[in-house]
Amino acid sequence: MTDVVTAAELDLVRAHARAERGRRRTAFLLVAPLFVFLIFTFLVPIGDMLRRSVVDTDVASVWPKSVEILRAWDGAGEAPATLWPALAADIRTSASADTVAVAARRLNYAVDGGRTLVMKAARRLAKVTEPPGGDWKKVFVELDEAWTKPATLTALRRAAGPTTDFFLLASLDLRKTDTGAVVSVPEKDAIYRQVLWRTFTVGGTVTLFALLIGYPYAFLMTRASKRVGAVMTVFVLLPFWTSLLVRTAAWIVLLQEHGIVNNLLVWLGILDHPARLIFNRVGVVVAMTHVLLPFMVLPLSAVMRGIRPETVRAARSLGATPWTAFRRIYFPQTLPGVAAGVLLVFISAIGYYITPALVGGADDQMLSWFIAFFVNDTINWGLAAALGVVLLVCTTVLSVVYAKIATGRRFA
């Protein structure tokens, strides 16, 4: 209770601080490889994805002269007259360098038939070096009137980069009009909001079923004898060790129209006709719950193992019914496990694409299916990245909200 610090005490404090520093440095060095690993495998790729959703340099990389003019143009009125000769020169240069398709593809995202428009121009312009009467604009009009239409020019100007909101807007079913207002795309073209909703519905349903099955399973697993517990763990881990196609084929055998499950249900008189259980939402939920169950059971059982049985016994001895003891004493202690399991399953579920693709119908595909499609099949990486950003943002928001709720309840 004194403010006076003796020299000896000060030395002690310093020595302590020194030791602490050493320990901290050791700790840091130990985690450094992991840290570097995380930077390279996690932060860099995610950063790159975020960048690709807004960076738009495809056209700029192959048509530099036109892009310079397009960037300077405010989009009002006629396109600058200098655009046409520059565009002709750029198209010719890029055609001979075999890079014109890069610009063609980018324009195609925003304009129907944009690819054909550019590729046709590339073929024709290869033969024209001097325009008749020096009028390049006329050459383009004769090629295809679409070149001078506002929609084309606006799309071209917006594709000039270096950044764009085109992909992010598209991933939310939005677009910019010629005048720059952000509007929803026509109903017939809108798709991603619906897909996003579907993704969360499927993820939520799978999480719910995984919890309903996983909670009692984990409870039994922790209560069973060592040997039975080990067998139960193996059963839960089994889907991890099975090849995806084999697993899928097994579900088809079980769930198909005249499969075991349907035959059993009809034989028992529960159904009159076989129900459709696969290649629809039912199949997706069943197969995904099967695969993701370990992510629910393992954290739950880890938490349940740490719960001291005395607490429940104490509640019972104080007169609580079994249900009350469970509800008031046991269940609240498992909440951290529930939170971890729910979060793990849900976040894994909304990223799934191959299982829904194999056992789902065409209307069961989730956001990741589209990301994979754009990444791999059509290399529209801008849109793929934008859809990835949407998924990332939703996941982050949900997990923050969820963490708030979970911790709030625990300390309440």
Partner: protein, 350 residues
């Protein structure tokens, strides 16, 4: 001690990064589709290539031009020769992911069928999307003959399967609706043509299931889950040969496509790559492929060398080829994004 550990860790990291950065010149890496197909390729191409002194290893992949783009743009492909599908060939070529091929080093362009010659790739196999059905379930006198029959749920009740996505599905719908095969893409290029295709699909929507992996359609047929399916012809043949199935193929109105070999840009093994492609382009080697899998091959001279009894099972048998329509890569390059979105939109409507 601590410092040593760190040193070790950073050394390990350096090794990992170093291995990534150095273009591993040396063994030629040839990448194909795996499975029974690659097993056959091993015997007829890879072993003879090794015997001819080409130091090579083979790997397999699942496709996706995005994978190649990431590899080549990442600065080190690790792969040299890759077998790609037609749209991967076209997109990758436009992106500059492949070397331009010098056909004079692999037997000359004239040695190959014209569809197999591309500035960035040389055709390896020809295969078909065909209508497949189970002969044990559909008697010969009721066998389907065209995609119109595929849409006839009165005569052939039950579910049918198509590939998930717009590609091939829309062509099939239009042919079923009476559009002649050589007019399909002309019609599909119009808004009304696309509407027409979806309208036709509407007529059997409740009976349609979709497959994603090429291994699925034979499984569906075997399980009795579907009565007819679109399927790669090689898969039907394999199911008949290996699993003793009795599946039938309708060659009429088949859609065919070609997979090609490409050399990835910046390959450090260019000479070995060409030497390998020359081995894979020898008619006498190619003519052995049908012994393992029912794909057509691409050199003109090979057809004459193929067993006459086997030829009718192949997409390149003159009779079969005459009834087939080549999938228009150019069209799909332009329309795939939009039509795939439209397809999914359609699927979600009831």
């Amino acid at each position: 001690m601590q410092r040593n550990r760190l040193l070790l860790a950073s050394a390990a990291l350096a090794v990992v990064l170093g291995a990534g950065a150095a273009g591993a010149a040396g063994k030629l890496a040839v990448v194909s589709w795996g499975g029974a197909y690659q097993d056959g390729q091993k015997i007829i191409y890879f072993e003879p290539a090794k015997a001819a002194g080409i130091d090579m290893v083979d790997e397999s992949w699942d496709g996706g031009v995005g994978v190649l783009r990431a590899k080549v743009q990442g600065g080190n492909a690790g792969w040299d020769v890759v077998q790609v599908e037609s749209d991967e060939l076209e997109i990758g070529c436009e992106e500059g992911l492949y070397e331009k091929l010098d056909f004079s080093k692999i037997g000359g362009a004239d040695a190959y069928m014209p569809e197999a010659v591309h500035k960035c790739g040389v055709g390896a196999i020809v295969y078909d999307f065909v209508l497949g059905y189970d002969k044990d379930k559909i008697p010969a006198d009721k066998a389907p003959k065209s995609w119109s029959d595929f849409f006839d749920t009165k005569t052939w009740p039950g579910k049918r399967a198509l590939r998930m996505g717009a590609k091939t599905t829309l062509e099939i719908a239009l042919m079923a609706d009476g559009v002649p095969a050589d007019k399909v893409y002309e019609v599909l290029r119009t808004e009304a043509g696309v509407d027409r295709a979806f309208k036709k699909l509407d007529t059997i929507k409740k009976d349609l299931v979709f497959w994603k992996s090429g291994a699925q359609p034979p499984q569906f047929l075997a399980a009795g889950e579907v009565v007819m399916t679109s399927v790669y012809n090689g898969r039907i043949d394999a199911a008949n040969k290996k699993d003793k199935r009795n599946f039938g193929i309708v060659w009429n109105q088949a859609l065919y496509t070609i997979d090609s070999w490409v050399i990835l840009k910046g390959s450090p093994n260019m000479k070995a790559a060409y030497d390998f492609l020359a081995v894979a382009g020898k008619p006498e080697n190619q003519a052995k492929l049908p012994n393992y899998i029912a794909y057509g091959v691409t050199t003109k001279a090979s057809t004459a060398l193929i067993d006459k009894a086997r030829l009718p099972d192949l997409p390149t048998a003159p009779d079969n080829l005459a009834k087939a329509k080549m999938i228009d890569t150019e069209f799909w390059l332009e329309a795939n994004d939009k039509l795939t979105e439209r397809f999914n939109k359609w699927a979600a409507q009831n």
